[in-house]
């Protein structure tokens, strides 16, 4: 082959390679990364009554270029205890829900991974199937179960255990049930993936060497499934912090969660700068968990 043709070919291949890389890179930069810069920008602007309802950062008038970065929105978040309470409420609720998911999900995933081979796929589909139906409708199902005239209260009053209905709807308890119910499959899936890969020879070796069942679990199974625990917990915790639908439908008006507060600032108060500042602070709080999740995921991708 002539050298010039060869370099022509490699050049064309290089160009093709770049085009292939550019397609997802440009799309995601434009529609995923760039929007965050805009959120930052608008969180630093002032709210005005206009369309769109925020003021400009850069103004040019009377031969002076004015760059106004307003920190007012962030200071406003700190000054009003409503917002601090909402952040704290979200993190607390998400943390409790994640722990409950882990406590229910781990034994489930363990049993699935130990089930006979032909059962494993069926069990996996059974666990995942609810998450493929409608999220909204699954949360809605709990409204009919937990309300004052709902199934649980009707049943308990019917058998005479209680005389007046227990208040379960519009409480933090209802929000936690809703999150656990909606996100449990996302906890079980990565746990199962890790536990199924676990080499049973390791467990046999431990038991042959006289290790007690519980010690084997603590020293062999648990450390080897750590990747699944991290992935599952992050898949529940991070979206749960920003959850809107569940606190809105099950938590009632008094539940302070940040996703709901952001929604109300945006849609009801039409205060876009404060909503943006709320989003930026939420992102900052979630940055560590997101980076943790990403590290774990990219390790998975390399394997």
């Amino acid at each position: 082959m002539m050298p010039s043709r060869l370099t022509g070919l490699t050049k064309r291949m290089q160009l093709g390679r770049r085009a292939v890389i550019a397609f997802p890179l440009v799309w995601l930069t434009l529609f995923f990364l760039l929007p965050f810069a805009l959120v930052l920008k608008i969180s630093l602007s002032e709210a005005v009554i206009a369309i769109p309802p925020y003021g400009p950062l850069v103004e040019y008038a009377n031969q002076t270029l004015k760059v106004v970065l307003s920190l007012g929105n962030y200071l406003f978040l700190l000054s009003d205890s409503l917002y601090v309470a909402a952040y704290w409420g979200s993190i607390k609720t998400a943390f409790i829900s994640t722990t409950v998911c882990l406590l229910i999900g781990y034994p489930m995933a363990y049993a699935m991974a130990r089930a006979p081979g032909r059962w494993q796929l069926i069990l996996l589909l059974l666990v995942m199937l609810p998450s493929w139906t409608s999220f909204l409708i699954r949360v809605y199902a709990w409204m009919g179960i937990l309300s004052n005239s709902g199934l649980i209260n009707n049943f308990l009053m019917g058998i005479g255990l209680i005389s007046s209905p227990l208040r379960m709807m519009n409480t933090q308890f209802a929000v936690i049930i809703g999150i656990v119910y909606a996100y449990l499959p996302f906890m079980v899936l990565p746990l199962y993936a890790h536990l199924a890969r676990l080499d049973s020879a390791l467990l046999e070796a431990a038991s042959d060497l006289g290790s007690h069942k519980f010690n084997t679990f603590l020293n062999v199974t648990l450390p080897l499934s750590m990747g699944g625990i991290v992935a599952g917990s992050m898949l529940v915790f991070i979206p749960a912090v920003g959850e809107f639908v569940i606190p809105e439908l099950l938590g009632g008006p008094n539940t302070a969660m940040i996703g709901k507060v952001l929604w109300e600032e945006f849609f009801l108060n039409r205060d876009w700068p404060v909503a943006s500042a709320l989003a930026m602070v939420m992102l900052l709080l979630l940055l560590m968990p997101i980076v943790w999740f990403h590290r774990y995921q990219s390790r998975e991708l390399k394997e």
Partner: protein, 280 residues
């Protein structure tokens, strides 16, 4: 001792309880969709009237159609975008921007929806100011938003498959002089097609199900099914929504069963072929 070993283990009991926890609320939805009473919590006899009312509700029917259209086009575009992203991540060595790309592929999996929705809306507003597009938000903006977050899920599913398959087939094709593009379409794509189908279905259900992001980026013209359902359930429980839930659960169960059946048949076929090879 015999009795002890037959007793189901703690984890098996938890698995059964966990599955009951996942399915009982859905069973309740289905049962009460056939309730004659408007009150969802009082049983007043069997009736299918709510299904009739559901099919007469023009607003819901229009929203179903809008949602199906958006989900179809979002899933199709997300499969293209996600597959290319997965291919680039697994098959190309190091390149500039790889870290950024891999972060942008995994971050949407966990990003709270309110943040994604708000940020995309601000982008569309800014774009409308700068280049005049999109003048009206609606189906097109929801399509872009859904494609973006669904492609992350597709990329994860497809990347897992790309890492699993035997790379020597692709290398053999290239060694025999097949150009990369041809190798991809004739060798790689057929092998990963089950993952593409799974990714498409996942993207389709995710798009169909999204309320928060669609609410942010939609305009007055386009109402998706979750938006209509949400404004209805906010007012309280309604038997019409139970009927809709039953139909959704039925459709998802049928598709899942079909997928399971096809997977099982594929497995059986492979085993039979292996047996044939052994007997020769």
């Amino acid at each position: 001792m015999m009795l002890l070993s037959r007793r189901p283990s703690f984890t098996t009991v938890m698995l059964i309880l966990g599955l009951l926890f996942l399915y009982l609320p859905m069973v309740v939805l289905v049962v009460y969709s056939f309730n004659a009473s408007r009150l969802v919590t009082v049983w007043a006899g069997f009736s299918t009237q709510w299904y009739g009312e559901l099919f007469r509700d023009r607003q819901i029917l229009a929203a179903v159609w809008t949602s199906l259209k958006i989900a179809f086009f979002s899933a199709s575009m997300a499969v293209c975008l996600g597959t290319v992203a997965a291919f680039v991540m697994t098959r190309y060595g190091h390149f500039r921007g790889k870290t950024v790309l891999s972060s942008m592929v995994t971050a949407p999996l966990v990003m709270p929806e309110v943040i994604t929705g708000l940020s995309l809306l601000l982008l569309f507003v800014q774009m409308a100011q700068l280049i005049g597009w999109p003048a009206d938000r609606g189906v097109a903006t929801i399509w872009i938003a859904h494609t973006t977050f669904c492609s992350a899920y597709v990329a994860v599913v497809v990347a897992a498959r790309l890492r699993e398959i035997d790379r020597s087939i692709e290398e053999a094709a290239m060694d025999l002089g097949s150009p990369p593009v041809k190798t991809f379409f004739l060798v790689t794509l057929p092998v990963i097609s089950p993952a593409l189908a799974a990714g498409w279905l996942l993207a389709f259900t995710l798009s169909l199900d999204d309320l928060v992001i669609a609410s942010f980026v939609s305009g007055p013209g386009a109402n998706t099914l979750p938006m209509v359902v949400f404004s209805s359930v906010r007012m309280g429980v309604s038997p019409k929504i139970n009927a809709l839930a039953t139909l959704i659960i039925l459709a998802v169960s049928l598709v899942t069963f079909l997928a399971w059946y096809l997977m099982r048949r594929g497995e059986a076929k492979r085993r039979a072929q292996l047996k044939q090879v052994d007997s020769i």
